[in-house]
Each structure stands twice: as C-alpha cells, then as structure tokens.
C-alpha cells in the first residue's frame, strides 16, 4: 500500500524527468546518428532529381547517357499532353490550335515553351492560365518533386530508360531529400581541427572559472565575511548575490556598458591618455577575462553561501582555543577552517564543473564566441551548429552529436567524482543510528 502511494506521489516528478531530461537526451542520441539539417527537414523527405544529384551520380560512374536523358528538360506537343490538357479544362481552341499546327514540336525549357504559347492566336490570356497549361506538356524528370518512391519509380518507368535494379536504387537514394542514418558526424568531429580548439577553450574556461571564482573567490568571500560583524557580513553577501539574481540579459548588458568603446571603463581611462577600445572583444585575452569574470561573479555566490554556512557550523570553541594558543587569522584559516570545508569544496567542484560545461548563455550574450572563435566553448558550438548558423543551413544532426558528447562527458565525470571523492561516505548513515 505504502509503496503504491509512493509511486503516486513520485509520478508527477517522474513525468517531468522523462519529459524534460530523458526524452531530450534520447532524442539527442537519435539525432546525432543522422545527417538531419534544415535542408533535409525533420519530418521526412521526398525525391528530387536536381543537376547536382546528376553530377554526383556521374562522379560515381553512373551511365552518363542515361543521366543526360534524365537531365534534359523538355516540353513537347504530343497527343498525350493534349489529352491531359483537355481533361484539365484547357480551352478547346488552344488545344485544337496546338494539335493542328504544332503537333510534335519540342522545346528545351519551360520558358521557351511558354514564350511560344504566348504567341499563339488562342494564347492563354492570364499568367495563371499560362502557368497551368504548360505542365501538361512537360516530359522530364529534372526539376520535378516526387512525394514517394512509388511516384518516382513510375515516372522513371514512363521515361523507358532501361534501368537496371542497381541503377534504379542508386537514383532513388541519390534523389532522396530527407535525412538518413549515418555515423558521419562522429568521424567529422574527430577529423576537424576546430574540434581540438573548442575542446581546449572549454577546458580552459571551466578550469579557470572554477578555480578563480566558483571556489577561490567564493572562499575569500566566505572567510572574510566570517570575520566581519554579522550585519555587515550579511550586507556583503547580499551584494555578491546580485549577479545571480539579476536576469542574465540585463546583467550581461551592464557588462557591455562597462566595457564597450564608449563605455564606463573608457570614459574613465581616456582621462589618463589611454586610447579607447572594446575591453570585451579587443583581443582574445580581453574576451577571456570578461567571460570568466561574468560567469565567475555569478558562480562565486553559490560557493560563498555554502562555505559560509559550513564555517559558521564549526564549533566556536575550536577558534577560541586556537586564539589562546596564539594562532593568527591565517593559521586559523589554514588549519581549522579549510580542513572543515573539504566536503563543501568537493561538492562545489563537482556541481560547478558540470554546470559550467553545459552553461553558455552568458558567453552567448556577451562575446558570442568571439573574437574569431576564441571563446567558443563546446556547448555554444553545439548551439551554433544546430540552431544558429550564419549561412542558413542548420545542422541538427551534427549539433546533436556535439551535444551528445557533452552528455557523455557529464555522465562519466559524475561517476568518476562519485567514486574518487567517495560520496558514499558523505551520505552514509551516521554511526549514532547504527
């Protein structure tokens, strides 16, 4: 009974986990094994024989004579076409004129055919009629779009090309516009030199932000505020909490106002004869300093709170005793406070590494990976590839493959941390309860 009740209580949470965590991870895995992009669409493709499909087949050694026939666009005035036109309510006079005077004539393109139609006595009198008349006389596969394999095969058959089964299959495969299953993404990731650069960027970003701010600066804040009177300490901590509670967009905008060419820093330093420059984007070093500070100031507050509460839980007697023994502040910090903070520090390391690895919104809003791609980190690169690409073709498949690597790294690192830092010891039942 109680177990059932438990399941009922956990059901909403479980649904959310499945919907917002498991399903996306699963989808990422699925997408990463495809070549899905804007061009292939997501919901499926159709078949289209384009000049580049033909040239690709030609490169693969496909019979060029056949390709030439498939590739030539032609319009011809045949009985079949006339019949189709009649059926589709094309004006009888026009059909008759075509039949009597032009039967058998062919035209190399739609444009030429339509120019010819416009010169007839019974010419179509509106562009709409003109445009609906010409397709009945088309006799080619190129520029056509076929919704299914069946339609394509039927049209191929009508062309009477004498294709072998192998050739037909090659044509069908090459003309498919949708996505296919492939492991190409991972091969490409391995081969591309930029992968290495992004990997290095990510390592540098995570390590520096973590060491300098999320732990280093957080410790400084926690320890210094500990020695302050309570009221002042609370005030300082509250101040350092501001970056975290300010909306990201606003927070980064403030940084931009600070660093831009016409921003606050320049307004001050120009008085000392320094030429104004963009302190956020001028060089790669500038960009890194800003990116790390922007993220670090947010990250530091979490460590600060955790470390502060851990320090306050250290029995005061220990500190009093050390003062009696003549310890100075530094010795107190080194020998009493820091050893007691081992677990909070480990926890912050683990938690923040994983969150830094995947968070990119502040970088996106500030440098967007620039200048060049010097601050492009892995998560941002996955985002750019899959969802924000300058030249129009969003690569969902490759982006998902990049994201999947991040998921795998996250999972592996969590496992290592759990073992290495012996979390089981941390959460094991207190001896008093045994």
């Amino acid at each position: 009974m109680s177990a059932k009740l438990g399941y009922i209580f956990i059901a909403p949470a479980l649904a959310l986990v499945v919907l917002f965590f498991l399903a996306p991870v699963l989808m990422t895995g699925v997408f990463s094994m495809t070549n899905m992009s804007t061009a292939t669409g997501i919901t499926g493709g159709s078949y289209q024989i384009t000049p580049s499909v033909l040239s690709q087949l030609g490169d693969q050694g496909f019979d060029r004579k056949i390709l030439k026939r498939i590739g030539s666009e032609s319009y011809s005035i045949s009985e079949k076409g006339l019949l189709a036109a009649t059926k589709a309510d094309v004006k009888t006079e026009l059909v008759e004129e075509l039949r009597e005077r032009y039967l058998g004539e062919t035209f190399a393109s739609r444009r030429l055919f339509e120019r010819f139609l416009k010169k007839l006595d019974n010419r179509p009198r509106s562009i709409r009629t003109l445009k609906s008349t010409s397709p009945h006389f088309r006799k080619s596969l190129i520029k056509e779009r076929f919704a299914s394999t069946k339609e394509l095969l039927q049209s191929l058959e009508e062309m009477d090309l004498g294709l072998t089964q192998v050739q037909t299959d090659e044509l069908v495969d090459a003309s498919y516009t949708g996505w296919i299953w492939t492991g190409e993404n991972f091969r490409k990731m391995f081969l591309l030199p930029e992968t290495k650069q992004i990997l290095l960027n990510t390592g540098f970003y995570v390590a520096s932000t973590l060491l300098l701010f999320n732990i280093g600066f957080a410790l400084v804040l926690a320890v210094t505020t500990f020695y302050l009177p309570k009221g002042q300490a609370a005030l300082f901590r509250a101040l350092w909490f501001l970056p975290r509670i300010t909306p990201s967009v606003l927070y980064v905008l403030l940084w931009k106002w600070l660093t831009w060419d016409t921003g606050f820093i320049n307004a001050v330093v120009t008085n000392f004869g320094v030429t104004p420059r963009n302190w956020m984007l001028d060089t790669a070093a500038n960009a890194w300093v800003t990116v790390i500070m922007i993220n670090g100031f947010i990250g530091a507050s979490m460590g600060m709170i955790l470390f502060s509460s851990a320090i306050t839980s250290i029995p005061k007697q220990m500190l009093y005793a050390s003062e009696v023994d003549g310890a100075n502040r530094w010795q107190q910090i080194r020998h009493i406070i820091l050893p007691q903070l081992k677990w909070p520090i480990l926890f912050i390391t683990v938690y923040q590494t994983l969150s830094l690895l995947t968070s990119f919104e502040q970088i996106f809003l500030s440098t967007d990976g620039g200048p060049g791609s010097s601050t492009e980190v892995w998560a941002l690169s996955a985002y750019h590839t899959a969802l924000d690409n300058y030249w129009g073709n969003l690569q969902y498949g490759y982006g998902a493959a990049l994201a999947l690597v991040l998921v795998l790294v996250g999972v592996i690192m969590s496992l290592i941390y759990l073992r290495f830092f012996r979390f089981d010891e941390l959460i094991k039942t207190p001896r008093i309860e045994q």
């Binding site: 992009s37 804007t38 061009a39 292939t40 669409g41 997501i42 919901t43 493709g45 159709s46 289209q48 384009t50 000049p51 580049s52 040239s55 690709q56 490169d59 739609r110 444009r111 339509e114 120019r115 416009k118 562009i127 709409r128 003109l130 445009k131 397709p135 190129i142 520029k143 779009r145 516009t177 490409k188 081969l191 591309l192 030199p193 930029e194 060419d261 016409t262 104004p276 420059r277 963009n278 984007l281 001028d282 060089t283 200048p371 060049g372 969802l387 924000d388 690409n389 300058y390 030249w391 129009g392 073709n393 969003l394």
Partner: protein, 457 residues
C-alpha cells in the same frame, strides 16, 4: 414631344439597366476569401515596406480581379519584428514542419538552397512569368542569385553592394587631378587600376604623412562576405556554374591571402586590424583618417548621418573592388533579400501569393522600400522613378555597381567553406602562417569536411 423623349430615354435606360443586371447575374461571380501571411526577417521599422508592399499589392490584385468579374478578398497578415535572423529562421522552419509557415517569406538568398531541398518553398517560376513586366525588368544577375539548380525560386526584394572607397583630398595630395579622380571608377572597371595600385597609393598617402601608419588601406574589421571579393579579384570562383559544386581555387586563394600579408608587410594595414571596433572604424573612414578602404552601400547613410560627413561626393570617390591581377576582374558582392513562396496552402493560394510578390516588385512600390531603408533597387526602370532617380547615392551606386555584382553561392555547405577561408585569411594576415601554408591547411580542412561537394583546383 419633350415628355415622350424623356420617357423613351428613361425606358431605354430601364431596359439597359435590366439587361446589365441580368448579364451580371449570368457572369459567375466567384467570391474567394484568402488570408496571406507575410514574414520578413532581419527587418526593423525602416524596412516595413518589405511586408507592406504585399498589402499594397493585394489591393491592386483585388481591383484587377474585380474588373475581370472575380470577387477576390485578400487579407494580408504581416510580421517583421523577429528576434534577429536566427530567431526568424527558426520560426519559419519550425512553423513549416508543422505546416504553418507563412505563405510568403522575405529572407536572405542563402536560404534558398536548404529550403528548396526540404520542400519548404515552391519554385516561383511555376507561378509567375519572368518574361512579363515587372519581373522582366529585374536585374538578370539578381534573378540568378534568386535561383538554385537552374530553377528560379524567388524574386529579389532589395539589393546592396560592397564598393571600394577612397578619400579625395588625400588622392589630390599625392598628385591626382580632378579628372584622374573622375576617371578612377572607370579605370578600376577596365582593370587598369589593380589592388596593388591600391597598396602603392596607400603607401604614398602614408609617406606623405596624411594618415597614420597602418591607415593607408583600411579594410573591413570583421569577418564578412566582403572578403570573398578579393578572392574574385584574383580570379577565384566560389562555385561552379555547371555542376553547382563549390570551388576552391588554390592559386586565387593564395594570391588573395598574399595581398593582405603584403599590405601588412608594407605597413599600410595594421597587423591587428581585425577586431578594431566598428564605431571607431566608421568615424575614422568618414573623417579622412584612412586613405583607401572598402565598405557597403549602406555606409552612405552612416557616414553622412551619425558620422556627420557633410559633403560625401566631394570627399569620397567610390567604385568596384579592383582586380588583383590579370586573372581576376573588378567586382562587388551583393546580398539581396528575396521573396519566397512557401509550401503552405493550395496551388491556388501559392498562385495568389506569387502574383502579390510580382506586383510588389513593381518599380514604384519597390522604390518606397529602397529609399526608406537605404537599399538599392531591383529593377532597371527604378532609375526612372523620381523618388529613386533624385536620390543621388541610390542612382549612382546602382548604375556603377549593381550590373557587376555577384553573390555568395546558394549551397547548403557554403558555411563551412566560409569559416575555413576566414581562418586562413586571419592566419596569413597576422603572420601566424605563410599564405602557402594557410592555403594548404584550408585545403586539408575542406577535404575532410566537404568531400565531394567542393572542387579543388
């Protein structure tokens, strides 16, 4: 008699009236109500005519239909305030996956390649006649840019171009006469003034102490399509017109990299020029702090507006980007936006949407957009529309630049090629690699990444 006359007149009128109403009732009045949605990307309030032109076109089409006895009611729903290009493209593609794409989109020509493959857009040539005015009046090269794989998918909506600029007072100071300066654009066009002449003049200007070192030749400060112009200047090709594949021309790429390395070596361009803030760059080129440079047609409004340049034509001469050597040609790149008709709705809906696009491209309507948003026009006869012709910048820039403009290719894999080209340029510019080494590295990356999609020669 008089009474009879007036009676018979009334009688006759009555008969005619009955006849007319009878006749009208025989004509099948087809009432058709249709809602057309238009979305424009990358637009702000100055670009409102991208969508408003469709509303105006709807009014005209309705009236034309009424004359032909058709009762056509078109409601146009417009939207152009998207969250940047990225947000717009996501909105369109995701809406399309759910079959809710707008009927007409205004977007960069680069979307034609992926969107035509995915079936999101219909070939507009199937619905409108490019031999009929106003489409017959479009610049041919712009129509070419709106095509993919031999099919015309879109109608150009506006154009811009990226010219080469020089500061007239500095040219005069190094010995150019008024006539020489007037003749400069023509000399560039004919290939008699090359990129290396640019460096020589830049050096002279610098040596004369007119500008600071590194300011003689002052290029664009960030990655951009503009740099492909220099590749074209040395005879490079971005794509093969026959097979539609991308083209990587080793020697053109090497000469293009070498040119910038040489500019740095001569000291006329700064080694750390890339990354100079735009604001600084604009204020410098608009105030004679640089000798020669290149930019975009939209710079005109910035120079004369925010930067306060009073006499543009008295201070700045402009032309095509000069040829690099005898293999190349003077050129400029344009990045037009295009009207595309999507797969939304029936064939009839698409037909109406396409007709609206055609009407919206009429010179007078398009001129409203061109002048309001400081873009160039799309048709030749816009030169005869007073609003356009009386705008000196628009009309001169159109005449000099647009006929020679090409564009970056419509290809689903152009983006990685662009990235690789840029990395190689940065490396040679800053001296991290020799131009030869940079070209070899770019080639290796392209082979790994693009495989058969690119012809390497």
């Amino acid at each position: 008699m008089l009474a009879f006359k007036s009676f018979s007149k009334r009688f006759a009128l009555g008969i005619v009236g009955v006849g007319v109403s009878f006749g009208l009732s025989l004509t099948p009045v087809m009432a058709k109500d249709i809602t057309i949605q238009v979305w424009a990307g990358g637009s702000n309030v100055n670009d409102s005519y991208r969508v408003d032109a469709i509303t105006m076109a709807a009014d005209i089409l309705e009236k034309e239909a009424a004359i032909l006895g058709e009762d056509l009611n078109i409601t146009v729903e417009t939207k152009y305030d998207f969250d940047g290009w990225g947000g717009f493209k996501q909105a369109v593609t995701l809406a399309a996956e759910a079959n809710k794409a707008p009927h007409i989109v205004v977007t960069g020509h680069e979307d034609i390649a992926p969107w035509s493959q995915s079936g999101l857009i219909r070939p507009i040539e199937n619905y409108v006649d490019f031999d009929t005015w106003p489409l017959s009046d479009l610049f041919e090269n712009l129509v070419e840019i709106a095509s993919f794989e031999g099919t015309i998918y879109g109608v150009p909506q506006d154009a811009e171009s990226r010219p080469f600029f020089a500061w007239i007072p500095h040219l005069k100071a190094i010995g150019y006469s008024k006539a020489d300066i007037r003749a400069l654009p023509g000399k560039i066009l004919s290939g008699n003034y090359t990129l290396y002449d640019v460096l020589d003049d830049a050096k002279k200007i610098q040596d004369a102490g007119l500008v600071k070192p590194g300011y003689g030749f002052y290029p664009r400060v960030s990655k951009g399509g503009d740099y492909w112009q220099f590749y074209l200047s040395f005879g490079g090709e971005m794509s093969d017109s026959k097979s539609g594949k991308l083209v990587f021309d080793r020697s053109a790429m090497k000469n293009f990299y070498t040119f910038f390395a040489k500019a740095v070596e001569m000291g006329v361009t700064r080694k750390n020029h890339i990354g100079t803030p735009w604001d600084q760059w604009y204020s410098e080129v608009a105030s004679g702090k640089a000798g020669l440079w290149h930019g975009g047609t939209w710079h005109y409004s910035r120079y004369t507006g925010k930067e306060g340049l009073k006499d543009f034509f008295g201070n700045i001469v402009f032309g095509l980007i000069p040829a690099g050597d005898k293999n190349g040609r003077a050129n400029t790149i344009t990045h037009p936006l295009v009207y595309l008709v999507t797969n939304r709705g029936s064939e009839d809906d698409a037909q109406i949407a396409a007709q609206l696009v055609a009407i919206a491209s009429e010179p007078r309507i398009n001129t409203l957009h061109a002048i309001k948003s400081a873009h160039l026009g799309i048709t030749k006869s816009q030169q005869n529309v007073p609003l356009y012709a009386n705008n000196r910048w628009a009309s001169e820039a159109t005449k000099l630049l647009l006929p020679h403009a090409s564009a970056m290719p419509n290809h689903t894999n152009f983006s990685p090629y662009f990235d690789a080209m840029w990395k190689g340029l940065e490396a040679s510019w800053t001296g991290q690699k020799s131009p030869e080494k940079a070209v070899a590295d770019v080639e290796a990356e392209l082979r790994a990444n693009l495989g058969n999609d690119i012809i390497i020669r």
